[in-house]
């Protein structure tokens, strides 16, 4: 990046990075809770509820189960958290300063987005609880199910733009040629990736890993205090970062005030899907992603290759 070091630190820690993403992410979880509550004839929490939840958890005792490796157990939540902070920083910086982009940053973003799931898998396995290990294995299966589809879907705009492998490049391309969603191929890819981010966020119908009525809390069963808060914060930040990634790639980039509206649209869609579906089984999820979704996303990328 051509940005200087003090600015880098500011970007990562304060503005698009940690503090901003966390604040907007937690606010989004409030929107999720409030809208879900209204759909379900409930009142819902006040706007500050997600914030005080995190603050309360940070003040709680951090219990490490007997026979668990302390370092790994506490480091795994942080891995995913740092990855999301970096993704957010890269996304916003490339959206606002397209010249700061570097070739292949979209690949970096996709790899970094693996890490929260890997943190959950490793943390759940490390906790030494049968519920945790079942949850970790479910998360692993789910990841195997959706990652390929997500990759194909996100790469459809790359193909459609003639091989622009950078986020800044994609944003610039869309500024010149209109939204990616104008192409038939990208509409297909956008629908598929909306389903994939539902799974990446671990929301119904893909909350298979932490299904509370089946395996209590899955990978998080043994987590408490600050470590749990970091997991929750990561999930909240993902709820903000993943739609922004879709906006950057498909909907012309996240630099205009319209971004807020686009983000709210995607958020409301996620919430509606969450509230109108039961949780599916992990084998059904794998079949769902590997057959209909994969076929759709491959059709999308073929359409993009022939220039539609």
């Amino acid at each position: 990046m051509s940005v200087t070091l003090p600015w880098d630190i500011f970007f990562i820690i304060i503005f698009p990075g940690f503090l901003f993403t966390a604040a907007v992410g937690l606010f989004s979880t409030w929107v999720d809770r409030k809208v879900s509550a209204r759909i379900q004839w409930r009142v819902g929490p006040p706007w500050y509820q997600p914030f005080v939840d995190i603050i309360k958890l940070l003040g709680k005792e951090n219990i490490v189960p007997t026979g668990t490796g302390m370092t790994g157990y506490l480091v795994f939540p942080i891995i995913g958290f740092i990855a999301v902070v970096l993704v957010s920083t890269i996304l916003w910086v490339t959206n606002w300063f397209p010249e700061a982009t570097f070739v292949g940053d979209i690949i970096v973003v996709i790899y970094l987005l693996y890490l929260p799931a890997i943190g959950i898998i490793a943390g759940g396995s490390a906790s030494g609880n049968p519920m945790g290990s079942i949850g970790a294995s479910r998360e692993m299966k789910l990841m195997l199910a959706y990652e390929l589809v997500f990759l194909v879907a996100i790469f459809t705009p790359v193909v459609a733009s003639g091989g622009t492998l950078s986020l800044g490049g994609l944003v610039g391309y869309q500024a010149a040629n209109g939204w990616m969603l104008g192409n038939a191929s990208c509409i297909v890819a956008f629908i598929v990736s909306l389903v994939c981010i539902q799974a990446k966020l671990g929301l119904v119908p893909f909350d298979i890993a932490e299904a509370e009525t089946e395996i209590i809390a899955g990978p998080y069963t043994e987590y408490s205090g600050a470590a749990l808060a970091v997991f929750k914060l990561t999930k909240a930040m993902l709820l903000f970062v993943l739609p922004i990634l879709l906006i950057a790639v498909f909907m012309g980039g996240a630099w205009s005030p319209w971004t807020i509206l686009e983000y709210l649209l995607i958020l409301v869609f996620i919430i509606l899907v969450k509230n109108t579906n039961p949780r599916i089984r992990v084998d059904q999820a794998i079949r769902f992603f590997w057959v209909p979704c994969l076929i759709l996303s491959v059709i999308g990328i073929i359409l993009a290759a022939v220039g539609l």
């Binding site: 879900s36 759909i39 379900q40 004839w41 409930r42 049968p130 519920m131 290990s133 079942i134 294995s137 479910r138 119904v204 119908p205 909350d207 298979i208 299904a211 509370e212 009525t213 089946e214 395996i215 209590i216 509230n275 109108t276 579906n277 039961p278 949780r279 599916i280 089984r281 992990v282 084998d283 059904q284």
Partner: protein
Amino acid sequence: MTIIPIGPYHPSLEEPELFRLTVEGEKIVDCDWKTSYNHRGIERIAEGKTYDQCLFLVERVCGICSASHPIAFCNAVEDMAGIEIPERARYIRSIIAELERLHSHLLWFGLAGHYIGYNTVWMWAWRYREPILYLFEKITGNRQSYAMMKVGGVRQDIKDEDLPDIMKVVDDLEPKLNMFIGVALDDPVLAARMKGVGKFSREDAINYCVVGPTARAAGIDMDVRRDEPYAAYDRVDWKVILGESGDVLSQAVVRLLELLESVKIIRQCLREMPHGPISVEVPEILPGEGIGREEAPRGECFHYVRSDGGNCPVRLKIRAPTYNNIPTYKVRVIGETISDATIILASIDPCYSCTERMIRVVEQGRETMGWSDLLTLSQEKTKRIMREMGFNEEDAFRGLRI
């Protein structure tokens, strides 16, 4: 091989019980279960209460079936004493029992939704259950534990000015029920989670002596309301709903369609209810025994009463429907995945505390494992745990007489 415990404390269960599922990956290969964490000794308490007091006791066997157990008990005592209750009391009993079925099945449908992660169904079902509870409060004074039944009739009359309100609540509910039936039958995702899950053949159902909606979902044509009519069920027109495959979906559909039948029964009862006395004088109860059966929302509720001519029963035997239904869990759950374990368990609408039994061990005329033996066992275990944790065991019992 991993063992996944469901219980004794689990977010999806509101009563203490333990199901140990042996799993290979996600697949369940074996299941072991244990209940009776919460034995309340209701049958024993009943032996020291008069018949009128017993009614309030059996009402508290189950928090949901608080009309079914009293009606079964009344049926038993009336059978023993040969009492014929007045017509109006029959209709009132039917109305209360069917209103209870409405709220119980709606509660179940909501919980079933919650168990498969469909919280919107949960909240909506419970919201539409709420007017029925208001209705209960209006008619009886209580949302739960209505205290309506009495040997020889009912304790309170349903006032004529309340009839339009009851009719209105029932009328408002019917389209909502149709909506739920549509959801259960048409939603493909719901079908993916419920169809073919926890299958249970007709033969298995007969071998396990299952009762209620669980039996009817497997295609067994049985319903106490029709087979041995009590209250006003032989005076109104309704039909028994049957399923075919015995899976979770057919259990849900049977319950939901039963709700429409309940609505039908309540409407007819409200229209045809005659005026007149609501109870008769109970004659002196002679030595003898009686059996009372009642179709509770979960299945047949069975009460047996024996009298020696005194004012208290010398024996009261209660069998709640879950007692028959719960052993089927093992055959239904083996071969399914962990994801389906809770919904299969929930599909029989279990009520564990109604089912609790205890064992008396009598060796050579002396009762072992009585109160003092159990107390000693418990204290020894506490001491052992204290020793293992490195505490001074004397500290634990300081000031306590062992």
